[in-house]
Amino acid sequence: MLNLFQNIHIDWLGKRKAFIGVSIFIMVAGLVSAVGRQYTPGGTEAFNMGVDFRGGTVVTSKFRQRPSDDEIRAALNNAGISDPVIQASTDKPDEVLIKIPLIESQASGEAVSEQVQQEQVQSGRMIVKKALDSFGKEAEGDSTLDTAPDAVYKIVGTDSVGAIAGSQLRNQAVTATLLGLVGILLFIAFRYDWTYAAGAVIAVFHDVLMTLAFFSVFQWEVNLTVIAAVLTIVGFSVNDSIVIFDRIRENMATNRTDSIFTITNDSINQTLSRTVITSGLVLLSVLALVLFGGEVLRSFSLALLVGFTLGAYSTIAIASPIAIWWQDKLGAAKVKDIQIASQSGEKMASASRRSVTRRPVTR
């Protein structure tokens, strides 16, 4: 039997101050990055928002002979686009992503008129096409670079989002994330106890905030798929917390003598091999996504990679310690209740009366 992490006795709760310190450090770094970037004149913004949320156009173009980024930028500047982002595709050398911001930015600071907003989606692609036409012909319609010998490039994909749709998508994403959190909070409160729910949700917030900190510091692009990734992180982070909570609940029912701190430490250590193996395997599948998933899923995979790593860490370092420590602080009176309850032969019930009694104690 191949075994990892057997008979481990780490005092996780004793180290909680160090863990919380690390987390606070990363979050402060994220906050400094976000606030600093936002308020530095002429600098980047807090988050590198993709066209999904900010509006704008991304054109993916395939070239027969790819011009240099500077050449493409010059061509776009000539077409009147002042600050395009040229991004080479990491896995396909002949493809390039051209991102242009909302067209109103070129209208020399004019107010966002409805007309201009409408023209984003109407003409974003056309402007890029006009610029690229300076390199030669596009393979239009159904023809490809192979079937049209005189063509030098072909636009293979367009994403164009108007300002209104962008803000709509943004609101939708925020609503979805918050609703998701509320749903999970309610479920855990129902299955366990509100202190556990609080611990799990603090851990989840922690993971989400830390992931966002990474996105701000490294300026990875935030788009719709990142929101999906964040919600997945939420789900997995809560998963990890639940596995440990389940074990704490079980140990509390069978072990009346040890302190709540000892039981929590034991529970974390007992489930440590599961936590490490599962997180490791999930990270392996995410790594496959990062490596082979292509450009479209890049932000998504990066968010998952960071979020899952943090999720495993936060379960051990944040969720359980906070849940238990808090329960202990707030529930000083409750501890006495438990003793009385256990003397009277009732099932111990600090975590949740309902759940513990439902579960037969076998040992």
Binding site: T60, D159, A165, Q172, I184, F187, T225, F292
Partner: protein, 567 residues
Amino acid sequence: MKNTGLWIRTAIIIAITFVGIYLVFGPRHSPTSADFTWQGIKNNLAQNVNLGLDLKGGSHLVMRVKTDEYLKRLTTNNESAALLAATEAKDDAGTSLPVTDGSYVAENGNYQVILNVSDTSKNAAIIEAVKKKIDFSYWTEAETGNSIVWTLPPREQGRLKEQATDQALKIIDSRINAFGVKEPTLQRQGRADSGQILLQMPGVENPERVKALVGETSRLELMKIVSPPNPSPVTKYPTREAALQTIGGKESDTRKVLPYVEREDAVKTAATPADKKPAEFVVVESPAVVDGSELRDAAAIQGRGGSGDYQISFSFKPAGAQKFGEWTGKNIGNYMAVVLNDEVKSAAFIKSQIFDSGEISGKFSKQTADDLALTLKSGALPAAIEYQEERTVGPSLGADSIKSGVSASIGGLILVVLFMLAYYRGSGVNAVVALMLNMLLTVAALILFGSTLTLPGIAGLILGIGMAVDSNVLIFERIREELRLGIDVPKSIALGFDRAFVTIIDTHVTTIISSLILYITGSGPIKGFAVTLILGLLINLFTAVFVSRTIFKWELSLRPNLQKLSI
């Protein structure tokens, strides 16, 4: 026989597996020998799985009908018609009613028609006269001070907006059908009164022409030009201001100034607004003699003179023809304007009474003339539309995405399988069988429910594998713990499954909750992700718990004296 339960479990698993294999790889026609070849299986798979636009290529457009514009036009039209009706009406004594003027409010969600009167005692007569001509049944009526006010309540605004969106949807539908778009998806999106419409067109790589065609308002009106009759030439003004001066400085209910643009190309290319020629202006009489709703047919025809230019001929329905005939009979020699979307396309003098047909001349290309005729025929949109979102994926980009999605799935699966076999040995086989079955059944469920597989969907599939592995790990680790405590093999397996099951349910439910919320609130790509993840999780409850346990049971039943479990 003591194994009956085991046999039933096995039969269930085999039956479901076969259904899954058939759904994913089986043909939807009576099978031939070709269906069992590698190529045949691949073809069937490609046919069965409903790929999303991001994988097979196509165009995804979100547009919005400017419904507030529609309500505004409704309000202004009602206002001018109400004023006209009130000023033309006489009371019983034959004297004119005391209406001084009219105004309207059409902004910030308020829509009101206001008639000002000099003598409130005749209000009842005025209201009666107005209501004879205009349907104000959904408007609330109020008499305040020296005015009569009709207000459109918010609930009715919502209803009218919805109605306008539905109408636009029908018109767009007929346009894209006439254009020949294959297998389009056209549906409303968002809240009922949001005015949003989603159009998906598989295989369309460059949607520019469809976009122009769908977005063309095509509001056709025939109006009388204020000008001395033929033979003097039609009166045009170089600027809007010059034209306005002749009608007292501002437009009124009966006089409008419109640009006169005889453009090369009628279909707007928004990228080149600067290329428009500077327009001239004419003054026209309002309201229009007839409008596009009276059209019976429109067609593009080649212009005379063989210059290769096209023009559009149109004909009226009987009622419109009657109206038009009467009017042209009275106006021989006068100038008439053909107005398309508030731009005068051509001005011609009326030679003789015309009943049922006319022409829009102008230097159109064949394509624009065809498109214009098509949009005229399908009817005018109730209001202009704007595009909010366009996502187009060429087939080559889609094929690349499939390739990367498939290699990511296979790469992830191989890594996981290798680890499970190395770490859990014999029991790892259980996990691998469960994982494979999970993937097969998730795809089968996608096909069964007619869901589309998108790139984020593939990511959901991969994460589903992650969750499936987690369930296996939870169970196996638990079994190991029980074994370590010295409990015998059958009991350990039973305890491992029972104890882990509670945790598995809890973890699955939380993830399903967050995925469900993603599915409900999310848009296109996120929905695809949520669907596969939810299906994967549900199926995992079957594969990781039921299937894996059945395999353990077989092992125990075949080797009753098992002392050491390979785990």
